[in-house]
């Protein structure tokens, strides 16, 4: 029974990635002590904070068994809208933030509505959405960033709360805890996972498929909006290219964290450590002066690795049952 408990502990989604993160941190700081400098930790945590929201935005859609290709472009659209509202309409940051979140939710709900009502694959609908939102973004900005970001916002995105911990981790903690609660304690999260796990069973049990899918996409849009605005704070400008490179990492982190792409099984903790691993590796490559494009290769390889492992785990479970 004890051995069984040990194996079951490792069956957890977040232990593996957590260990890998730990090992990576230790190994890298041996070779490059500056890795653990307060400045570097600040940079690292800021990257983790933003990427966590991006990963969670995709995670909620993976949970329902779909994919959201428009995540980045929703984030980008909200980012420039956020900056525009403050620069052009002179809105106070908090109000602009609410506006930004609202846009994100609206964009997500629109996608979700079309997917739910037409039954057309989420891939195509969100691909169309990606173009549409990107197009609106470019149409508004004409590829020019908005520079008029208020100082308070810039500070939020760059200053530390305490020691090496940036203010940016606050939204990350809110989002992380919130999504954990949703997936594990709230009816809407359980319904989302039920649809991803066994759509028929969910429907027969009274789950309203359409409403739940729309909720999932609304949450995704909300998180994308949050990440977009955090990036505006961090980069200190409202740049129209925000969101363009979110696609790979938005899938990589959840997959490394044990998410099953067909839906029904996600791990917020695992995703967190997936984000950490990606951030660490990206940082390390910069520190070791390795070509930044190697990041892409490594990310791709990590996705394959993680997917392969998840698949083996799934097969092991199926075989054990037979």
């Amino acid at each position: 029974m004890n051995g069984d408990k040990l194996t079951r502990a490792f069956d957890n989604d977040w232990i593996g990635p957590a260990l890998v993160s730990l090992v990576a941190i230790v190994v890298i700081s041996i070779f490059q002590p500056s890795f653990l400098s307060p400045f570097n930790i600040l940079v690292l945590l800021s990257a983790i904070a933003v990427n966590m929201l991006i990963a969670l935005g995709q995670l909620v859609i993976i949970a329902v068994g779909q994919m959201n290709l428009a995540l980045g472009s929703i984030g980008g659209l909200v980012a420039i809208s956020f900056a525009a509202m403050m620069e052009i309409w002179q809105l106070p940051p908090l109000l602009a933030m609410c506006g930004g979140l609202a846009i994100g939710v609206a964009a997500g709900m629109a996608s979700g509505y079309v997917i739910a009502r037409t039954g057309i694959s989420a891939f195509i609908i969100t691909l169309a959405g990606l173009q549409i939102f990107k197009g609106i973004n470019l149409g508004i900005t004409e590829a020019q960033p908005f520079y008029g970001v208020p100082q308070s916002v810039k500070d939020f995105g760059n200053l530390a709360m305490a020691g090496p911990i940036p203010w940016l981790v606050l939204p990350m903690i809110v989002a992380g805890v919130g999504m954990w609660a949703i997936f594990n304690r709230l009816r809407i999260g359980r319904y989302i996972l039920a649809i991803g796990g066994n759509r028929n069973a969910a429907e027969l049990s009274g789950v309203n498929l359409d409403t739940t899918v729309i909720w999932a996409h609304a949450l995704s849009g909300l998180l994308a909006a949050g990440a977009g605005m955090m990036l505006v704070a961090r980069l200190q400008i409202g740049h129209p290219a925000i969101g363009e490179d979110w696609l790979i990492s938005s899938f990589a982190a959840p997959v490394i964290g044990g998410a099953i792409l067909s839906g029904g099984h996600v791990s917020v903790g695992g995703t967190f450590f997936g984000v950490v691993i990606i951030a660490i590796i990206t940082q390390a490559l910069v520190l070791f002066a390795i070509d930044p494009f190697v990041v892409q290769i490594v990310l791709g390889a990590m996705i394959l690795w993680a997917v392969g492992i998840n698949r083996l785990r799934e097969l092991r479970v199926a075989r054990a049952k037979a």
């Binding site: 009816r187 809407i188 028929n200 037979a322």
Partner: protein
């Protein structure tokens, strides 16, 4: 006292076939009502209408005297009709308790779930079924029988006044079955109206008080009290004829060398010690209930399930078949799938596209080019011989009737000239006329020298067609029965093999 549920004069058609024709079912509160019928009789269509999956073309459904029209299963459930279906409908990564209480997780989207209370309530239902397992365990860790019990618990937890159970004891032991029956009797005494669908007549006679029998889409009887009927009466209503007298003379046992031999074969699916041999021109029947492992054995012969022990010989030489392509192109073995729509045919493509799929490789020229003309030349004669009714070979096969679709799924193997044809449940959901036709066809193929392995759970079909019958249960062969076409004797012999293994 008014009926709890009433289906009146319901008719339902699908492209090519009339599944239900003026069918009625009257369910009184406080009764256990058996719904019987052979495969293809219309039972599952009727069940789908009751549970809200289909709507009848004609006729109506009333619940407690009020007419109802369900747009989807969810509405049927909210109206108070609980159901345990044949296929599993559980979310495997959720806990048992959460699956049982899935309908009632919370009042609104953002309600926080009290898992303590949830699992406590679920445990109550599990205890009722004598299932003493921790409701917090994930459903994926359960055995098939346990999963079936959990689904029953889920239906019970809904506390509906109408309960429909479709083959609920398929995976249960006799003990578990008795516990379930105890609960159902208690519910009946409480006034719940129960519909019990099962192939096992002993269970029906032991538990139910009323019976409705369907045959060929119509009522053979409606709401008759069971105590006035004997088993033979019920069987006669189900198959529409006396227990059959032999129509075909038994065929002499072939004496040529076997085409296919299995010697002590074990597979990754769980088969143990399977030995059989099929001679050219011989029809070997493989009888068994759902879950016996017959289709999996066919898949093992085709190379889709891995062989772990024993050997397989074709024409006396040991072979290792790696895939169905191997089986077909190298050894002339074909397989008519039991799942016609998902595995037997490509519904999206044309009749020609389906009939010719097995012969493309052999008809192409050196460069791999192939014109429709060559395919038509090879397949049209077969389609004609089988009397496939289609306006043209370019008709999308999804538009043909079930019987004609089945003919095409057999035609493609005949066109390929297979030496051994494995036929899996060929006449499920097929009309009577085509059924008889296919039986004649199987005989004719055998007469022409094809070796045939017939897998079916349709007893009259087995006795009518097979020369020699193997009885399979629990992934092993339990016994052999020589077929002299004496239905009484042969069916008794087969069932005794099946039941002795159940008692074991």
């Amino acid at each position: 006292m008014s009926a709890a549920l009433e289906v009146s004069h319901a008719s339902k058609s699908f492209p090519g076939v009339k599944a239900l024709d003026d069918v009625s079912l009257t369910l009184m509160p406080g009764s256990i009502h058996a719904l019987l019928g052979e495969n293809g009789a219309g039972k599952s269509t009727l069940i789908k209408i009751i549970t809200g999956l289909h709507r009848p073309d004609q006729g109506e459904v009333t619940l407690n005297g009020q007419p109802v029209r369900f747009a989807n299963p969810r509405q049927a459930v909210s109206a108070g009709i609980g159901a345990v279906h044949q296929e599993r409908n559980l979310v495997s990564r959720f806990s048992i308790g959460e699956n049982i209480m899935l309908e009632r997780l919370g009042a609104h989207a953002l309600s926080v779930i009290d898992y303590g209370k949830l699992h406590e309530e679920a445990a109550k239902w599990l205890r009722l079924l004598d299932l003493y397992i921790d409701p917090r365990r994930p459903v994926s860790s359960l055995s098939v029988a346990q999963m079936q019990l959990v689904e029953i618990g889920k239906a019970l937890a809904l506390q509906t006044r109408v309960l429909l159970l479709d083959e609920p004891t398929a995976s249960l032991t006799p003990n578990e079955t008795q516990v379930l029956f105890g609960i159902l009797r208690r519910l009946r005494d409480d006034g719940v109206a129960i519909v019990f669908v099962s192939h096992k007549l002993e269970e029906v006679f032991g538990l139910c008080d009323t019976v409705t029998v369907l045959r060929d889409g119509r009522n053979a009887c409606a709401a008759m009290p069971l105590k006035e009927l004997a088993r033979t009466d019920v069987v006669k209503m189900m198959i529409g004829r006396e227990e059959r007298i032999a129509k075909r003379a038994p065929r002499p046992r072939a004496t040529t060398a076997p085409y296919l031999q299995l010697k002590n074969v074990g597979t990754a699916a769980g088969h143990r010690d399977i030995s059989l041999s099929i001679r050219p021109g011989e029809i070997i029947g493989l009888y068994g209930l759902v879950g016996a492992g017959r289709s999996e054995l066919a898949k093992a012969i085709l190379g889709q399930v891995r062989r772990t022990a024993g050997e397989m010989l074709v024409n006396g030489k040991p072979v290792a078949i790696a895939s169905p392509a191997d089986a077909l192109h190298r050894h002339g073995i074909g397989y008519v799938s039991e799942d016609r729509k998902q595995e037997g045919l490509i519904l999206l493509h044309t009749v020609l596209g389906n009939a010719g799929i097995t012969v493309w490789r052999s008809l192409a020229n050196a460069l791999g080019f192939l014109r429709d003309r060559s395919v038509i030349d090879r397949t049209a004669p077969v389609l004609q011989q089988l009397e496939v009714k289609t306006p043209s070979v370019y008709q999308t096969i999804g538009n043909l009737s079930g019987g004609n679709q089945q003919k095409v799924s057999v035609a493609k193997w005949i066109a390929a000239g297979v030496k051994l044809l494995i036929i899996d449940e060929p006449t499920v959901g097929i009309d009577i006329k085509t059924k008889a036709y296919l039986h004649d066809l199987i005989h004719e193929l055998a007469e022409r020298g094809t070796a045939i392995l017939l897998i079916t759970s349709d007893m009259p079909e087995m006795v009518d067609v097979a020369d020699h019958i193997l009885v399979m249960s629990g992934f092993t062969i339990k016994g052999e029965v020589e077929n002299d076409r004496n239905y009484e004797r042969v069916s008794q012999a087969i069932m005794s093999f099946i039941h002795s293994s159940a008692a074991a």
